[in-house]
């Protein structure tokens, strides 16, 4: 008896992804760790390919700043670099959870810095810290908020894509920054050098709390932000609605979430946090408004937000880790002559592996004897 209809061909073993009925608890915790380890392995290979000693390079990046001989210098740096990353990433994570993609935190960071610095420079040399510094904080937060409202209102009113608008506004903000640094905010006593007066030396405006330990108001804001965001998501209805809107927009509408208000809240909050980060940076570690004041925290914070799995505590750790790769990268650059681009590739790998491994939280890998018809 012959088989008329069976024309299947036994296929080779195939790797298949099967959706898990429940997200895996284990992998949601293990994914970042595995991603960091994979980054180390492939980073080491990259460094080796560049002709640098791989283990030593990793040591310079991860070990030297924390436990090395000069850690008294590097540890404060960790706070200085980590704080803006954490503050901005926290704000971004709100929107990312709700499906609102603010890619322009860098611009909001710049505008926040300009607004806050503008208040201080306008009142210079008045001595009234009780008035000036709070006013700067408000202006900084408002500047970032307002800059983020542009993509927000455009999306709500006209349905534009907030990714494009917020990103484009970064370049507008950069031009505005250059114009300010060279024009309106230029230091009149600066002998023609570009850049504003030094705010960190203006006692009413400085955001430093303890400069030798790297402690400034930006660090405080980042930490308060972590607690605030944690409470929001763990306990508050608004955090629940943000998650709901991101995961199931129709269910969110059914529950009574207004999508427009959520978009504005997420963009506004992330803008305000980025603005505050910009302000505390310009009045502290950076010190003055200069053409190259922004160093890309607003973009790196996107990586930090995802590296921290959009969880406030995760973001705290991710911000610290990212700051470490920055500082360690500098160390490796100066002591081993590693090219700066290699450090950026290294950071890129981190995001790549994190998103890659993250698949395992919701899917399991199975080897299947597949049949191909």
């Amino acid at each position: 008896m012959h088989n008329l209809y069976d024309n299947s061909i036994a296929g080779a073993a195939m790797i298949k992804l099967e959706k898990r009925p429940q997200p895996s608890q284990f992998w949601s915790l293990a994914a970042p760790i595995v991603a960091v380890m994979l980054t180390m392995i492939f980073g080491a290979a990259l460094f080796a390919a560049l002709g640098k000693p791989p283990i030593e390079a990793l040591g310079k990046i991860f070990w030297e700043p924390l436990f090395g001989e000069f850690n008294f210098f590097y540890l404060p740096q960790l706070l200085i670099k980590g704080a803006p990353l954490v503050a901005i990433a926290l704000g971004l994570s709100l929107g990312f959870k709700a499906g609102v993609w603010n890619i322009g935190a860098e611009g909001q960071y710049i505008i926040g810095a300009l607004c806050g610095a503008g208040v201080a420079l306008a009142l210079y040399p008045m001595e009234a810290r009780w008035l000036i510094f709070p006013a700067m904080l408000i202006a900084g937060a408002f500047g970032g908020f307002a800059w983020a409202m542009i993509p927000g209102l455009l999306r709500v009113k006209f349905g534009t894509n907030e990714i494009l608008v917020s990103l484009m506004l970064v370049y507008v903000a950069e031009q505005l920054l250059a114009s300010m640094a060279l024009g309106l905010m230029k230091n009149p006593d600066g002998f023609g050098f570009p850049g504003s007066r030094n705010l960190s030396q203006y006692s009413s405006a400085s955001s430093w709390i303890d400069q030798s330990n790297g402690m400034h108001w930006g660090v405080v804001i980042a930490l308060i932000g972590v607690i605030f965001a944690y409470t929001l998501f763990a306990k508050h209805i608004l955090g629940f609605q943000i998650k709901l809107a991101g995961q199931a927009p129709r269910a969110a509408a059914f529950s009574g979430v207004s999508p427009a208000r959520l978009v504005l809240f997420c963009l506004g909050t992330s803008g305000a946090l980025a603005g505050l980060a910009g302000l505390t940076e310009v009045a502290g570690p950076a010190g003055l408004v200069s053409i190259d004041f922004n160093v890309g925290y607003g973009f790196t914070a996107i990586i930090v937000a995802f590296l921290g799995r959009l969880h406030p505590v995760g973001i705290l750790f991710a911000g610290a880790l990212m700051a470490l790769t920055y500082i360690g990268g500098d160390v490796a650059q100066s002591s081993l002559g590693l090219p700066g681009a290699a450090i950026q590739v290294f950071q890129g790998m981190l995001l790549f592996f994190l998103l890659g491994v993250d698949v395992l939280t919701n899917y399991r890998v199975s080897m299947k004897q597949g049949s191909v018809a």
């Binding site: 299947s8 429940q22 209805i237 059914f254």
Partner: protein, 506 residues
């Protein structure tokens, strides 16, 4: 008896965690209408997908005309003479009938010949259909005819039909049955899946009953009562909800001249809907799918905002209120689509309880959620409505459709609303759980709530409603007492003049 056309022997198919079919064996004879009975999840779909080549069984054999038959894909099954009309149509709305038919054929003839053949077949089998019409303009019944004609053009030996009448008006069902009887007389075997027992009794020669993947019995439907068949399916005695004659109270909600644009592209806008809902009323709203059911639920739940004065609750205009504010007043709703609309798939059942119940159950204080209280409420829903799940911490997507349905309906009922609007409350739920849900709806009304049940299951509506109204192209008929309505009257209300007109074309 002659040799059966198709023999199934020991078909078994397991998926991770469930055995969909276990040792299923039966025969289908030439010219026989064979019913496949069973609750949702009994394994009917897996079985017909196996026959149609969509699923490969783990073990077991099939023979067709005495020759071993293992279709590797639907194309092989079609070549062998097996065709299938799915419950959900696979048609392109922008193309015309003939083009749609051609797309589903292995070797479509030239368009002109095809159009002629479609006209011929539609005349022969009494299925009026114009091959040049655009599918987007057709009613559900006409769309089904497109699918059937596509099958008939391939001279099938076996025609599989999955829940064919769920989208049809009673009059359209009659037309379909005439066609099927004609096919049967010509020797075509029909494998007919349905859970409408009266239909099966009227049409089918043989029935095979599946429960939990196994064949648990077979019967001759014309000689078996619907109740006996139902009990065979459920594997126990069936609890029929009892309706105490409730006292109808004051008017709770008034819908007056409600008109609303559908937010969906191919949706149906509501036109001048008027309805009074009194305390103690159970109002059944029937209608073929896509006649404005989703829109009506959206307008009442608050997802669709409506104009001033169109919906009022206890004299207060509520048309502009969002869903949350309406729930706070005691107006709850459960939409048809549970995954992603009534519930968030990736969230736990506890979180899904907070989705709608936070106002009436007092689950939040100053905006802060009391998760302990929410979990307790979720547990209560799970217990009262027999939701099969490890616990309230499980993600909604891990539940089967029927179980999630029980959770969603239970969540709304246990909030003790004053007005409850449900769309397809027992869709995909097994008979005993459906009885629990219907009883709970009746109890709610008996305690003075107004209940609107939107459903395509006429038996369900007739079983529990006091008043019956029909939705047709976004218009709601005048409600009439459900008691004493004949099936013909219901059919006319459902189809209206509109649909009757269409089925007389040609």
């Amino acid at each position: 008896m002659t040799e059966p056309l198709m023999k199934l022997r020991g078909l078994t198919k397991a998926y991770p965690g469930v055995i969909a079919n276990s040792d299923v064996s039966f025969n289908i004879s030439k010219g026989e209408v064979h019913a496949l009975l069973g609750e949702n999840g009994a394994g009917k779909s897996t079985l017909v997908k196996t026959i149609y080549g969509l699923v490969k069984p783990d073990s077991g054999t099939m023979t067709l005309d005495g020759i071993p038959f293992n279709p590797a894909e639907p194309r092989a099954a079609r070549t062998a003479g097996i065709t299938m009309v799915f419950q959900h149509f696979s048609l392109f709305e922008a193309l015309d009938v003939a083009e749609n038919v051609a797309l589903g054929m292995e070797n479509p003839p030239p368009m002109r010949d095809l159009a002629q053949r479609i006209t011929d077949v539609s005349k022969t089998y009494g299925l009026p259909l114009d091959p040049t019409r655009i599918v987007g303009d057709l009613s559900a019944g006409e769309r089904q005819r497109v699918e059937i004609i596509r099958c008939l053009l391939q001279d099938p030996k076996i025609l599989i039909m999955d829940e064919p009448t769920s989208v049809l008006t009673p009059q359209e069902v009659e037309v379909l049955f005439e066609t099927l009887r004609k096919l049967k007389a010509e020797g075509t075997a029909i494998l007919y899946i349905s859970h409408k027992l009266e239909e099966i009794r009227a049409l089918c020669d043989q029935a095979t009953v599946l429960r939990l993947g196994k064949v648990v019995g077979s019967c001759t439907p014309s000689e078996t009562s619907a109740r006996e068949m139902a009990e065979l399916m459920v594997g126990g005695t069936l609890h029929v909800p009892n309706r105490e004659a409730g006292v109808v109270g004051k008017t709770l909600m008034q819908i007056k001249g409600l008109s609303a644009q559908s937010p969906a592209d191919f949706g149906t806008s509501l036109k001048n809907v008027t309805l009074d809902i009194r305390a103690g009323d159970v109002i059944g709203i029937g209608g073929v799918a896509g006649n404005g059911q989703d829109e009506l639920l959206g307008a009442l739940s608050g997802e669709i905002k409506v104009g001033h004065g169109q919906i009022s609750f206890l004299g207060q205009d509520i048309g502009h209120l969002p869903p949350d504010a309406r729930r706070a007043l005691g107006i709850c709703a459960a939409p048809e689509e549970r995954m992603g609309h009534a519930a968030a798939p990736d969230m736990s059942l506890t979180e899904n309880a907070a989705l709608t119940a936070r106002k009436l159950k007092g689950l939040t204080k100053n905006g802060f959620i009391d998760w302990g209280k929410t979990r307790t409420f979720a547990k209560e829903v799970i217990e009262r409505f027999d939701v099969r799940t490890p616990g309230p911490g499980s993600a909604a997507r891990s539940l089967s459709g029927g179980n999630l349905q029980k959770f969603v309906i239970g969540r709304e009922i246990l909030q003790n609303p004053q007005i409850l609007i449900v769309n397809q409350p027992t869709w995909g739920v097994d008979a005993s759980a459906a009885a629990v849900i219907r009883q709970a709806l009746l109890d709610l009304a008996a305690n003075g709530a107004g209940v609107i049940v939107i459903s395509q299951d006429l038996d369900e509506i007739m079983e529990i409603s006091d008043l019956f109204a029909a939705l047709n192209v976004g218009r709601l008929s005048k409600p009439r007492p459900a008691k004493g309505l004949t099936i013909d009257e219901i059919g006319l209300m459902l189809g209206g003049a509109h649909d009757m007109e269409v089925s007389h074309v040609d």
